[in-house]
């Protein structure tokens, strides 16, 4: 046996122990465990810890376990595999995870992309009084007050929470798809322009059925 071989074996043993420690810690945590916290507890570089977490997740996937290790809200946590939902729901009797309404999702989208944002700014974008929806979202814990506006009114500013990230299964708000992807395409713009056109295409006096081209 050469020294090198011993070193190699010992290193492998250590890595194995670190990975087992990560498994143990993730198991007892109530919340997603940040990689930085793991790095601190193991006294190892964060980059390595991240790599180990990904490797663990890979092994679980490969061995087709009923659980997964996922990155969410800035950390890792154990979750059940997607295809086992019926079994888990049956066990939890009936899960009442609340579905968000369209209005709530739209408001949440605005807050997520424009945070920090005031109630009035949300109202201006949605064109409706957002108070009820904002209150619901805050009660659910998906958004929270994150500050006050500098302006004269010192309006409350809202932002999204970790619970929001967990609800959508995101690691951070940076993982949100780029808003640019959702800017309506030329066809929509054209349809809207047509709908709001200033000069009529048809004679007012013969305003019959609308002919589209």
């Amino acid at each position: 046996m050469t020294d090198e071989f011993i070193d190699e074996t010992e290193r492998a043993a250590r890595v194995s122990e670190y990975k087992r420690a990560i498994e143990a810690i993730a198991l007892v945590s109530h919340d997603p465990v940040p990689h930085e916290l793991l790095a601190q507890l193991l006294e190892q570089p964060t980059a390595l810890v991240e790599q180990w977490c990904d490797e663990l997740a890979g092994v679980y996937r490969q061995e087709n376990h009923g659980f997964r290790l996922v990155r969410v809200a800035g950390g890792i946590r154990y979750q059940t595999a997607d295809d086992l939902t019926p079994y888990v729901e049956r066990f939890l009797l009936h899960d009442q995870r609340a579905r968000l309404s369209g209005a709530a999702l739209e408001t949440l989208a605005i807050v997520a992309y424009k945070q920090p944002i005031s109630r009035a700014q949300v109202a201006a974008i949605r064109g409706v009084d957002p108070d009820g929806v904002l209150r619901t979202l805050q009660a659910r814990g998906y958004i929270d007050e994150v500050g006050r506006d500098d302006g004269p009114g010192q309006a409350i500013l809202f932002g999204t929470t970790d619970s929001f990230l967990e609800k959508l299964g995101l690691e951070s708000v940076d993982d949100l798809p780029a808003i640019a992807e959702f800017i309506p395409g030329p066809d929509v713009v054209e349809a809207l322009e047509h709908g709001l056109r200033v000069t009529p295409e048809i004679d007012v006096t013969t305003a019959g059925p609308h002919q589209d081209d």
Binding site: R126, G169, V198
Partner: protein, 260 residues
């Protein structure tokens, strides 16, 4: 999905978007009273909740006014010799409205993505069990950082009845001024007046919203062929002339107006 069977609209932007994009109608065909009523309902609601935000309301009014402007430009005569400044101003307002609608549409689409993300995330259940009793001695106080306020919020969350998907049974409070009401008033007033200027017709109205609503009601009557509108000078007062055609049944106008 209930919402498909019974389409409902969340406020004026949504309504306008759906009308233009889904129904493929343009502003000339849209019954503006519906949209303006939607704005008025929102403003009314903010007032009743003492949430009056002048910026927001001004914004709403501007949009409502732009719509009225756009539609009026199509309906009123003399549109060919429009003042250039006036026309530019209208285009500017139109662009502003377009920008807002595009923004609203953008977030609507994002909401769809959020819905999908949440649905996917809901397939999986997180472990949030904590350590077992072997670690009781070293377990941190879980109430650390829990405020009375967050406990209150949790109670509200837990005790609030879960919404059940139902056909939309929610009716907004009746608002004081609607286009339909204004039509009814005008149908009472105009036959007696015969010919009256718009300025006089709205002289007793204190609120700008009420003036807008009256104007929309006039456009409605004009479209139905119950009145003529004359504007001898540009920017001049509009003359309203009661002249129902032979085939116009004023009772049915009223019904139409109430039905939207």
């Amino acid at each position: 999905m209930v919402d498909v069977a019974t389409p409902v609209y969340e406020g004026p932007f949504d309504l306008l978007l759906q009308l233009i994009l889904k129904e493929q109608v343009d502003i000339y065909e849209v019954n503006l009273s519906t949209i303006v009523d939607a704005y008025l309902i929102e403003i009314e609601r903010m007032q009743s909740e003492k949430n009056l935000d002048l910026d927001v309301i001004t914004g709403f009014l501007l949009i409502a006014a732009t719509l009225v402007d756009l539609k009026a430009r199509r309906l009123l005569p003399n549109q060919s010799d429009m003042d250039l400044d006036e026309e530019l101003a209208l285009w500017e307002e139109r662009d502003l409205l377009l920008a807002r609608l595009l923004e609203a549409k953008t977030f609507k689409d994002v909401a769809g993505v959020f819905s999908q993300l949440a649905e996917d995330a809901d397939l999986s259940f997180p472990r949030a069990v904590g350590a077992d009793e072997r670690f009781a001695d070293v377990m941190p106080d879980l109430l650390e950082g829990t405020s009375v306020k967050s406990l209150q919020r949790a109670a509200i969350r837990a005790l609030t009845p879960r919404p059940v998907p139902v056909v939309d049974l929610f009716h907004v409070n009746p608002i004081k001024i609607t286009v339909a009401d204004a039509v009814a008033e005008l149908l009472d007033e105009l036959p007696r007046a015969g010919r009256i200027s718009f300025r006089r017709l709205t002289a007793d109205l204190g609120d700008r919203i009420e003036v807008i609503v009256r104007f929309l009601a006039l456009l409605e009557l004009f479209k139905q062929g119950a009145i003529d509108l004359e504007q001898p000078e540009r920017f001049g007062d509009i003359e309203v002339v009661w002249s129902p055609g032979d085939d116009v049944d004023t009772d049915s106008i009223l019904i139409d107006a109430y039905d939207g």
